[in-house]
Symmetry: D2
Subunit: 377 residues, 4 copies
């Protein structure tokens, strides 16, 4: 039997000293562990407010792109086309800022169908939609373009079966005063006139796009009013993050594929609410780690990262108790939610360097969110 | 054998709809379950920022005092002398605002030395120091006056052995611009000229006063520079909370006493850091509840409240990972820490209505804090 | 000619040491300058965030009501019916917290038609609407009920001609998580599902109610979508302030009346934008003070208070320059706007103890707001 | 008489769309108006919080340096050595984010001693100190190194007489958790253990360095405790801004020199407090513009920028009225102060695009600050 080229994905979690710190990535490239042209995606947690004016996302993107541009001998804009850089702002509470770098290379799968015959291993695919007009954000056009993009990214990952998709990270745009003015000048209405709130609509519509692509929600059930209103519609693997620094959606699909030669696997589950430790343990279990009260030291070393979404329960209650996140005019509710969820996860995996992103509209059940774990197999 | 009068303590956890909401307390009084003159202490979590300008503490105190004053037919000031009202601001993340009301009455201990012969049950005692001058806050005078006050409160609780003390809640003052001006006009220096930071010094000196009273720290080891500097000195049961609305320290000692006829017991442990789930489980165990991954539904119903302290690790790291709480100029570090610790506790006890107070200077080890649990025996 | 009873209004500006400080009001009552039953309205600036969770408003109301209840021998609820207490949260920048107390008494107008024949002097009237349902907030019912209430308050003030109305202060409700849940349970939709944003809708609809009552805007021009969208519709004298502590609108009309025996007059103008010093001077001029670069020391002593509204320009620009207030997820735009407008006014009147309230939806032109001045004649 | 080479300074104020926006600078270079190697300094107002975790400063610096590096064909680090880039975070209230670019070239002074014989025109000089150790920040070493640096920058500007210096902008470092840990590991004490507070000490010591260099304060009067305590010691032209992105002081001296061929002049005055409109007018007058109630449209066009410092009055009072800036745990006092001072200046010059930097420790009198104006002569 002739061998064939298959993908092998490596994932590195790199601590950062600040949003402009790409030194960990530089070291990784310098060491020869990966090459700049193998970097297919970077997921970052940056220490901003995660809101409209969180420029730490753009700064981190700028710094990483500048570094990769230099190494690849191309422009920063060209880097942006080659690799999906998704920075999620907000490291509230104990969460620790870091970058997760995904490198992908084509390798020979060897005799007998690969090193891990019969096993599905981590595969990654990326795609990008066209730029959205301000009036499209949070609406049908965004849902449909995103769904098409997710299917593109699955093809790029070599994943056919939606059940093998365990996390879909999307970076999506938001409305600023300037963008809203532009739409109004053209006589268009907007889904909201509140910049902060536009982040939720953008995340919500993007997540519904994932749900449609993966068959989690029937497209016919989503009418125009459903976005950010009908919380019964959701994806269990979507993770969407809004940022001011782009106008289109960048999509990263993560899953397990029999055609992957990676040493890693990914699993996922859903946290029903912000304090759902059982959901955290289910995600670990899905990736092959059985956690008791906490993960063992041995298993902890196998965990590459935990990726989760958090949000303030829109009912105003968690387990029947009133919370104050939605009535707080000093701190946005996403900041509260990230602080809580990250702490619960960290208390189980014993590590505060986890990726918890805020605003889980249509991402997992209302008040909860998807959680994925990447581990060394 | 002649019977004798012993104390019986009842504790009620009451949800609030806002800082001015004393309706739960009114209902409790209306029901006849307790009488207004039996209320010995109220511990509240109010939904403010927990900082210098957190007026939700004063508001909640005002509302409770106004209600009790009306029921008792005395002035609000007189209520303040009869009962210790300690409001801790900040219900970040999933934490739910509430009041914990401690009522104490003298009951006949019955034949054979009480209903619970040989068992130690919850006892509570209160005391208050004199008013502090601004220049005394955070310094030796505060430590020594507090230590004396803790001993008074132990006597009031009928607890002799410091080992039976499981939680000492103190409300202490802070420096405002006006108070600092007053000291400067009299030619006095202050421990700090930063109002927010003064809260930490006040909490720290008060906690060291507890440690001295209970023999946890030798008074001779505490020199003037130790407050908020030498983190090796701490109490494992002190919980101190600074507020703008008072000038002295109000002290509530909670412990178990053979001379108590309560149906409740209290236990405690220490959280080593903000994600120390093992510390939470140790506290539960100390109070007689064995928690696995989470508390059982049956045991959850026995828990009256969990009382804990939280702080951002002063080293800037949790489990070797950099946190950003101390460099955040938008959100104070105590807010971050409360959000994290409350979520960890809630994920184990299955209930977000817990009491987590921020600023654990000299309360538990650096970066961690004491945690106590009151349960139905 | 027989004399008749006419109203005489006295206005006192009282510095506060905190939101719970009613000691200035107590001193005023103790001095005999006014009697508790003469207090018809209190306008306060309290040091909260002016947002959904600004409990300083409720606290100040509670403290003033408790004092007046004690002096009048009635319940706090009864005080709330007798006097309109409107607290506006937010003393950003140099603004200084204070209460403005309006006392009104019936006096004999003396021979020849009063002390000030031919002159119009300050008159005040109050009214209240019924409670609003959550789904009515920000919509037609609120506009119409408010318009009716303004006419009631004009009658109470003895002002017939709308041109003699110079300031209409309204306290209006907002949507909380709980209130939104209530409406949803009854199958009702809401004008917004964002608590902070609901404050704007409530202020906007209430201001349009004033505009309708005074003939500034034709009711037929206001369709359902106009609230917080068609900024060409506005009142030049409305000042509306949303708070969590009530469900109806409390209305205070201030104007000049020939039937007033007051020693005070009121004037007003409009600030076109946040830095419109000419608007400040026009308001002073309307009240009889000619201000050059700044008000003279002599004239400054005549000023009882300046009452103004502030908002972030909804276009995102001031004088063609981009501002960042609407994109700020750390500080709400109303806080920014109050800080700016209060400083501009204070720099002209030479006094930081002015009343600038945030959120000027349909109050003055977009980005600007009404400004009134009460002076000793 | 033979002609000689003299400096000619051009200053451009460029609106930015965000902290990473260097497009205005690119356009300026593309137009040929200035060359990249002529850029001697860039002063920016960026839309961050101006606090410890304000990364908009670093981002703007990164973006400008990346652009200049590309144009000059050198590394970003090399750009940092050639030009002083000082970004001041915080555009509260109406302030509009922008860059002020200073370009300097050597020109022939022409016959008769220049184009402007007998007139002093704008001259600029730059210098940098060595890196400071964490324990030196806010202390004597910082004062003395800064004083030496200011003298270097004066020489670079060709200004001998301190009276011709009208503004000295300094970018100085601050303490982070990491830097404090470093000092503690080496057994060193720090001037403060509060990161936010360290910004004040750094700004204060740097300002005293300016005062020493210019003879405003006698070095012998400054003992170790004076920094941030003895407010009678100050410079009337120092403007210091702390940022996390550097460890040394970068110094820009601006003044008028007979040896300058610029078309611009600079003047300055002092604002006594945050609402001192007279101080604003004095600064305009010093630069040759007579302002009445507001600057005329004609004069407004001559103004290139206004540079000022703001701070919350450390007494807690402005004009005898209590302010709440220093007791606010939600918003730092520098943010409040910038919002107020920028609005007052903008209301007089009719333009919100001004440079107001927060934290005026030892820069102007307590509660006030220096203000300079650059105008076309």
């Amino acid at each position: 039997v002739a061998s064939a080229l298959v993908q092998r994905v490596e994932v590195f979690r790199l601590a950062t000293a600040g949003p402009g710190d790409a030194s960990g990535l530089a070291a990784l490239l310098d060491s020869g562990d990966i090459r700049a042209d193998e970097v297919v995606a970077i997921l970052g947690k940056t220490e901003g407010n995660g809101g409209v004016n969180d420029f730490t996302r753009g700064y981190a993107t700028f710094a990483c792109e500048a570094l990769l541009a230099e190494r690849l001998g191309v422009s920063r804009a060209e880097v942006g086309k080659r690799a999906a850089l998704v920075m999620s702002g907000g490291t509230e509470g104990i969460m620790s800022p870091h970058l997760t770098v995904f490198a992908r290379r084509a390798v020979d799968d060897g005799p007998a169908g690969g090193e891990h015959p019969g096993e599905k291993r981590l595969a990654v695919g990326v795609a990008a939609t066209r730029d959205f007009l301000p009036e499209e954000i949070g609406r049908a056009a965004m849902i449909d373009e995103t769904a098409a993009g997710v299917r593109d990214a699955m093809r790029d990952a070599g994943i056919d079966d939606p059940r093998n998709v365990h996390f879909v990270q999307i970076k999506c745009p938001l409305l600023t005063s300037e963008r809203m003015d532009d739409a109004r000048r053209r006589g268009q209405t907007l889904v909201t006139e509140d910049t902060y709130k536009s982040m939720g609509y953008s995340r919500g519509a993007s997540a519904l796009g994932v749900a449609v692509a993966l068959g989690e929600v029937d497209r016919g059930r989503i009418d125009d009013d459903a976005v950010c209103h009908d919380w019964s519609l959701f994806s269990s693997v979507a993770s969407t993050s809004a940022g001011v620094e782009l106008l289109n959606n960048e999509i990263i699909v993560m899953g397990n594929s029999p055609g992957s030669a990676s040493d890693l696997v990914i699993g996922h589950a859903v946290m029903r609410d912000a304090i759902d430790g059982a959901g955290v343990r289910a995600a670990l279990h899905s990736a092959g780690i059985v956690a008791g009260v906490a993960v063992t030291t041995e298993d902890a070393l196998r965990i590459v990262n935990v990726l989760a979404k958090a949000e303030a329960d829109p009912t105003g209650f968690v387990r029947g108790r009133r919370h104050t996140m939605l009535n707080d005019s000093d701190i946005t509710s996403t900041r509260h939610a990230r602080a809580a969820v990250a702490a619960v996860i960290a208390s189980i995996v014993g590590d505060p360097m986890v990726y918890v992103s805020g605003g889980a509209e249509h991402q997992g059940p209302a008040g909860g969110g998807p959680i994925a774990v990447i581990v060394r197999a």
